[in-house]
Symmetry: C3
Subunit: 348 residues, 3 copies
């Protein structure tokens, strides 16, 4: 990478301030890591202090940014997005999996493969499965019987997709994820847990992404359903018969118990957990590490274990934090009352 | 599926009420998802409201069920179990792995394979391993040296079982699980962590099931031991030298630290965690997201971080929730005392 | 194993007390599991009671140990370490992967393999990758393009290492771990999440160990960086652009959100979680299940959700536990004041 500040500004549609357009940029970096010759970006207010000390030669900043900083400013509408564009343009070329079927792939009977699919080494596609155009099936991926996968999907190495799963288009599944493992269901009989067959499926709609080593169990019957546009991070658990609505975000290590339903645009922060058989309305936000034990109406932000509205959580926490003072006040009252008693005329 | 209500009743040993035995059922569904032509079941009291609004044509209900519902009732002893039987009978045929050894399987020296085993594509079985009758070793499964696996086990694709593991009969291991990875043990010497060799094994007894992407570490010495009938959900961590007793249930994302012992019939709810070197008595229940820091006697139900008896947790939580009122009461006392002081004769 | 107490003492440099050097030892065991003929060790004060009841024939104890126990004592400087040495000497031989490239391995173009590497069955090494001397690439391991791996690394079966990762020497990666999966980054535009390309890498320095099924995401740009000597347990999540310093310990099921920086010698206990964009100073300890929401100065021990200094957490918890008594005291004051009021002369 060897490009001028002016050329970058032209690339991202920005305006240069506070330095020469001819300055040379040799790399991209975060504010803290940046050195002379790097360009960085200001996308999070908490980094303002660091930006004022940055060694970066240039920085992408918002249009209304008015602070003094040591770097040349390039003002753009969305610095984070502009930086991404820049990173993409200057990054090493992404790895591309060329169309074709590797000689080691094991492909069952009655498998239908779309145009320009890429089937990587040691991929296994069981009988009766359909795979759409331009989809990449990574190395060591296992796809069970009678599964349907749409167009332009990207299945990374070592993913397992069990039988009869139904996947839409443009889905990305990161390595190690398991789609369609058995749901966790047992009847307790005569002192033993007896397995309840899990004969349903997993359905994943268009534009969903699923993170590394996440697990999405097949339904007991019917389907476990991840709807359009939802993004699931690493090590997330989705139990049987769960429905996750459209455009939700499930951050790493969160978990959803059986038969629970999430509306659209729901956010589960990291390590959040939901009990089974409840419903979360549209745009609900569950705070990090919170445990949701009952249904939550739309647009609520909840926090805590068990989770309550965030405002309520903060009020309770503040009261607990001031408990020391309350104890002092009670002690003072006791002393006062004690001395008052002594100064009172004796009861007759 | 195309079957009458009367035929279903005969199938599950139930009694029809509130509608004709001749009504046609075309599919199974949960109460909320059910449409005309579906049969559903009532297995959880919290769905009574939904059942009263269900579009299902028929519903499996308990014998003593007396509510008015729009669906035809089929009364049975255990509606959930009856529904499972029905689902199983009407479901697409389960995928069966036929006996035989796939040409791509890599099998070491001195491997003993039982009758009718099924070794799927790209399975690797290292030297000195024994596998019992009718056991299925899924695609891409790795089984390390000198491992013993009993009869009728089902090892799903992409499972790793490290050397010298000891598995009983009828064990099910879901995809991505890792059995016998090194325990997490180090000595701190001269500012560095030095690995302690983990030379023990993992022993898993009959009828255990282990969920997708769960991890069960081998012992430092001796064994990590999962006893008969225990069911472990997805993404669960079992550290080295742990003993899990018989017929326990470990729900998703729970974790047990090194050398801890669980009795029989212990339940760990989702995302619960246990420190190392403690014991949980028989039938202990650890609530969701709880953190257990010390041993728990039998039959206790604990909750919270650190976990305390559930009753105690509830009392404390209730007191915290009423803190606002307590603060008000103290303020009132202060005001009262303040005005009393003023009305008192001056001290001489 | 068949060795005398005296021979063991010579082996570990210990001194025998309380029994004959000629006693025969036939196996190693923990204090609780030990039987006649076993040797055990005393490494954790909480097992003193159990040690006094042990059936073990001998026990490794610290030099200053003065309790009466039924077993013959062998006094050593570090009983835990001595026990490890003994276990190692008497354990079944560790499984060794011999140098060589299995016929089924798929190796791309321009791959450089060091001396005496061991490439196990079905390993895949993509083009442009370099692997150092004596490194073992386990069965079914996938190594993406242009990756660099140093000398003496041990990559267990079913690990995924994505393109351009940079690994040092003597690194151990347990089965199922995913290194270099895409970071979880999206821009929200017109009601949809749009993927931000994750074009950075993962860098892992010398002597790091990574547990089973843990996930370490590649950077959005630049690198996600695990520094020298750090040990990561199973099912741990490291998000994009995180830096973990030298000689840290991250216990199972803990998680670190994007761009957060850990200093050296940091400990995250089990199931701890950190938000993104914060810094933890050297030697910070985060207690089990704690949720860290802001930066923590060096040498602090924090606990709770949100995490506060451990002392503060304990004080608050103690106050909450005594709330019942405080409520009683307030009630008493109210009663007193009520009766005082009645005994006061009426206000005029």
């Amino acid at each position: 990478m060897n490009i001028t500040v002016g050329q970058i500004a032209a690339l991202v549609g920005g305006k240069v301030e506070g330095g020469p357009e001819s300055a040379i940029i040799t790399g991209v970096a975060s504010i803290a890591d940046a050195n002379v010759g790097n360009i960085t970006f200001f996308g999070n207010a908490r980094y303002l202090g660091a930006l004022k000390d940055t060694k970066a030669t240039a920085a992408l900043v918002p249009v209304d940014f008015s602070e003094e900083i040591p770097a040349i400013k390039i003002k753009v509408a969305n610095p984070s997005l502009a930086f991404s564009q820049l990173v993409e343009k200057t990054a090493p070329k992404p790895v591309v999996f060329h169309p074709g079927i590797h000689r080691t792939a094991v492909i069952g009977e009655d498998v239908s493969l779309g145009k320009d699919v890429s089937i990587q080494p040691y991929a296994i596609i069981e009988s009766g499965t359909e795979i759409g155009d331009r989809t990449v099936v990574g190395a060591h991926v296992y796809i069970g019987r009678e599964t349907t996968i749409g167009n332009d999907c990207l299945i990374y190495p070592n993913v397992t997709i069990r039988e009869r799963s139904l996947l839409g288009n443009r889905i990305i599944i990161q390595s190690g994820a398991v789609i369609g493992g058995d749901g966790f269901g047992y009847e307790f009989e005569n002192g033993r847990y007896v397995k309840i067959p899990q004969v349903g499926i997993v359905q994943i709609d268009d534009d969903v992404e699923i993170g590394s080593n996440s697990t999405i169990d097949r339904a007991r019957f019917g389907r476990t359903w991840i709807q359009e546009g939802t993004k699931i991070d690493n090590l997330v658990q989705i139990a049987h018969n769960v429905t996750v609505g459209k455009h939700c975000v499930l951050v790493s290590q969160s978990g959803v118990s059986g038969s629970t339903k999430l509306g659209n645009y729901v956010t589960l922060a990291g390590q959040a957990g939901l009990v089974g058989h409840i419903e979360l309305g549209d745009q609900v936000i569950v705070g990090a590490k919170s445990g949701v034990s009952k249904s939550i109406p739309a647009r609520e932000f909840v926090f805590g274990i068990p989770a309550v509205p965030d405002k309520e959580f903060k009020i309770r926490a503040a009261r607990v934090n001031r408990l020391g003072k309350l104890i002092e006040r009670v002690k003072k009252l006791e002393q006062l009352l004690d001395s008052n008693e002594k100064s009172l005329p004796p009861e007759i």
